[in-house]
């Protein structure tokens, strides 16, 4: 595994860690959840469209099939 992901390494307890850039952390998680929920909605819409199509096909075929 190489560098750029900046794999977190040792954690020296005595070094005080600067608390910066919380906005970026929040943004990252927010974007992730936006993607998860957004795609979930897309999935539901696709399913509804598919079901509607099956329904209309069935009814066009005369209820049965």
């Amino acid at each position: 595994m190489s560098s750029w992901i900046a794999w977190p390494s040792r954690v020296p307890p005595e070094v005080p860690v600067p608390e910066y850039n919380n906005a970026f952390i929040i943004a990252a998680f927010a974007v992730t959840w936006l993607a998860v929920i957004g795609y979930g909605l897309h999935l539901r819409r696709a399913r509804q469209a598919a079901e509607a199509r099956v329904q209309s096909a069935r009814s066009a075929l005369g209820g049965g099939a």
Binding site: S3, W7, P8
Partner: protein
């Protein structure tokens, strides 16, 4: 060509499969929340990055699962070319859609991580650059699908495009890596501290479950649409002895 109509007629096993996939989806969602909370609360801040390290828990799983989605596209494409079943093409398309989302997410998160860490939004790093290439290939694949009307032609063409794209991914990765190492010294690889591994793994598994659910869900919607089309075909061919599929 198999008949999706006949498959849909056996509704009972289909329904139980649906329940099983829903379980996977719910489990993935719950695990994702749990793993994120666990990771954010328990893992100590990194020496250099501080709490920014926590972006890793969403970024790296997205990248891993994007690769997985691409593998799925390649395998489904290969199987389509081998067996000629239209369902495999729909599976490849479903995986490609989820893969495009995941590569897009990986890129967005990479930027969000890069800006505070290095002060730049974009870095020409092999992994990130390969992911970008992968993203473009997913997009091209999905655009190709919208440009072709005939189902069989669309399936054959996109299977071929998916397969060639899969061949290209390792070559792109290697070439970008060489390109980078030639241009600047690569920083020494670091080992991941054990306090980060478990949250990372849990997050990756959670996202994988969600991805599997999403692909399965999208795939079944596509199958349903095809079922509807086949029912309409029956109508169009009503009373024809040749109406049954060969």
């Amino acid at each position: 060509m198999e008949s999706v109509v006949n498959r849909a007629a056996t509704a009972a096993p289909m329904a139980s499969r649906e329940v099983r996939w829903t379980t996977v989806g719910v489990a993935g969602l719950v695990l994702l929340v749990a793993a994120q909370v666990y990771g954010v609360l328990t893992s100590p801040p990194d020496r250099d990055m501080g709490h920014l390290q926590k972006i890793m828990y969403v970024h790296v799983p997205a990248a891993w699962n994007a690769m997985l989605a691409f593998l799925l596209v390649a395998l489904a494409s290969l199987r389509y070319l081998w067996k000629g079943r239209l369902a495999d093409d729909l599976l490849a398309a479903s995986a490609a859609e989820v893969g495009m989302l995941l590569t897009g997410l990986t890129l967005a998160l990479g930027m969000i991580w890069g800006k505070p860490t290095w002060g730049i939004w974009w870095t020409w790093e092999p992994r990130l650059t390969s992911t970008a290439v992968l993203f473009f290939m997913f997009v091209a694949y999905l655009i190709l699908r919208t440009f072709v009307d005939d189902a069989e032609r669309r399936a054959q063409w996109s299977a071929v495009v998916g397969l060639l794209g899969a061949l290209n991914v390792p070559i792109v990765y290697m070439s970008v890596r060489w390109w980078r190492t030639l241009h600047q010294m690569q920083s020494s690889p670091m080992t991941l501290d054990s306090s980060y591994t478990w949250p990372l793994r849990a997050n990756a598994v959670a996202l994988m479950l969600l991805m599997a659910y999403a692909v399965a869900h999208r795939y079944r919607s596509a199958l349903m649409t095809q079922t509807a089309d086949e029912l309409m075909d029956r109508l169009a061919l009503k009373g024809t002895p040749g109406g049954s599929r060969a």
